[in-house]
Symmetry: C2
Subunit: 255 residues, 2 copies
C-alpha cells in the first residue's frame, strides 16, 4: 500500500519521517505501540522547535565523555531506535567501543530476531540480548523486560538507552549503572532518573554524538571526567522544560 | 501477537487505550500513520491533565447548538475516529440527525470499505462517501482527499470532523461550510480555522456531546442561536493553550 503525501502539505517533511517507522513496522522491527510513542515525542519536538537546543548539545557532550570513560558501555536498542537510526547505531558502537544489545518493552522472539538481522545486514558483528542469550535478570522489574544478556546490560557500567521507559531506567539505576537516555519529554521518569538525559530527537542526536566522540577521543581521562562533573542533569532538564513552555506560547499554526 | 502490559506500570491505562487503535490497525480501519497522529495528541492531552476542561465543555455546548440548528449536518469519519468511537458515532448521528460520511487522509478502497462495514455492524444504516459515491469534489485540495459524496459533505452546511487535517478544514471553510473540529492542539491550523474547535480527547468528547444534544433538543432555535453567538473560538483556543502551558510547568514525572 503506497500513499502519496501531497507535496504542498505544510507538514510533508514530518509525514515523511513517520514513514521510516511505518516501514519499520512492516519489516517487523517496530511494534504498533511504538508508532504511538513516536507521535507522543513528535509533539514535544514540535514544541522545542524541531531543532537540537544548546541544552541538548551539552548533554550530548557529557554523554560522549561518559561513553569514552566507561569500561563496559552498552547500547540498548529497541524497535523504534533500530528503524530510525539503523546505520548510525553501528557507527556509534564503533566510535565508542560499546556493544549492542536488543531490549524490547513489547517483547517477541520474532521482533528480536528481525532487529538483530537488520543490524547485522548493516554491518553489526555481535548483537547481544536475543534468543537464548537472555539468561541474566534485572532485579526490581516484572515481565519480559527483566531478561538481559549476561555479556551485555547485566555487566555494563554505562547503558545508553534511547527511547527507554521509566521503570527500566529506575531499575538500571538501582543496579548502580549509569544510564544515558534520549527522551523528548524533559520531565518523564526516564529523563529525571537518568544519569544524563538528552532532550532531543534521536534522529538528530546520534550523528552529533558520533562526531563528538571522534572529537573527544584524544582528550585525557581527567579532562573527560571534568566534562561529566560539570553536567547537571536536573538543571539541564529544567532548561529544556522552559524551552518547551516557551514553544507552547510561540506555537505556530502549522502542526 | 499478544503483549502483557505490566499491571504496575504507571501508564497502564494510557497503554490500554492505545490498544484500541492497534486493534483498529489490525482490523484495517486505521492506518499506521494514524497511530503516530494519536501519539501526538496524547502529549497535548497529558499536558491538559487528561480531562475535559471548562473550555472544552463550552465548545461542546456550542457544537450541540450548531448541530441542532443545521439543516444538513454531516459527521466525517476517519479511521482513528471509527476505531475509538465506533458505537458513539451511530448514537451521535441519531441524536442530531446527521449523516455519516467516511473521509480518509490516507485513502484506500479497502480501508474505506472496512470502516463502512464496521459502522454498519454497529447499526449505521447509511454510510456515505465510499466506493462509487465519491463523485463530488472539494475545490482547493489536491489528491484523494478532495473526493466526497454528493449527498454528504458536498451539500452539508455543517461538517463535524474530529481529527481532521488543516488543509481540508481550510478548504471546507472556503466552501462556506461551518466546520466543527476536535483537536488536542489548540493552535493547529485545524483548530484556528474551524468554526468551533473542541480541544479535548475525542473519546471523552462524544459521550458528553450526545448528552448535551439530548438536553438541548427542546430549546427553541433563537436560544440555540444565542448559544452559538456567545461562543468565540479564538478566545476559547487561547484559554486551552494557556492550560497547556500551565500543564507544561506542572508536568508530573509520570509520562
Amino acid at each position: 500500500m503506497q500513499f502519496n503525501i501531497p507535496q504542498d502539505h505544510p507538514r510533508a517533511e514530518s509525514l515523511r519521517v513517520r514513514e521510516m517507522l511505518v516501514e519499520g513496522l512492516r519489516g517487523g522491527l517496530v511494534v504498533e505501540e511504538g508508532l504511538i510513542a513516536h507521535g507522543r515525542g513528535e509533539t514535544f519536538d514540535y514544541l522545542l522547535g524541531e531543532k537540537t537546543t544548546l541544552s541538548a548539545i551539552m548533554a550530548i557532550k557529557a554523554t560522549a565523555a561518559m561513553l569514552l570513560t566507561s569500561s563496559h558501555p552498552i547500547i540498548s536498542v529497541n524497535g523504534n531506535f533500530a528503524a530510525l537510526c539503523g546505520k548510525e547505531i553501528i557507527e556509534l558502537s564503533r566510535a565508542c567501543g560499546a556493544l549492542i544489545e536488543v531490549n524490547l518493552f513489547y517483547h517477541s522472539v520474532n521482533r528480536e530476531r528481525a532487529i538483530k538481522c537488520y543490524l547485522e545486514r548493516l554491518g553489526a558483528t555481535d548483537v547481544l540480548g536475543t534468543g537464548k542469550d537472555r539468561t541474566a535478570t534485572i532485579p526490581y522489574l516484572n515481565g519480559e523486560r527483566k531478561h538481559v544478556d549476561p555479556r551485555g546490560i547485566a555487566i555494563a557500567d554505562t547503558v545508553f538507552v534511547p527511547l527507554e521507559d521509566g521503570d527500566r531506567t529506575e531499575a538500571l539505576k538501582k543496579m548502580g549503572k549509569k544510564v544515558i537516555a534520549v527522551d523528548l519529554n524533559p520531565l518523564s521518569r526516564t529523563s529525571v532518573h537518568a544519569t544524563i538525559c538528552i532532550v532531543d530527537n534521536v534522529v538528530r542526536v546520534i550523528p552529533i554524538l558520533i562526531q563528538m566522540l571522534l572529537e573527544l577521543k584524544s582528550e585525557n581521562r581527567e579532562s573527560l571526567m571534568n566534562m561529566i562533573g560539570k553536567f547537571d542533569n536536573i538543571m539541564n532538564l529544567n532548561e529544556s522544560a522552559r524551552l518547551i513552555r516557551r514553544g507552547g506560547s510561540e506555537i505556530s499554526a502549522t502542526i
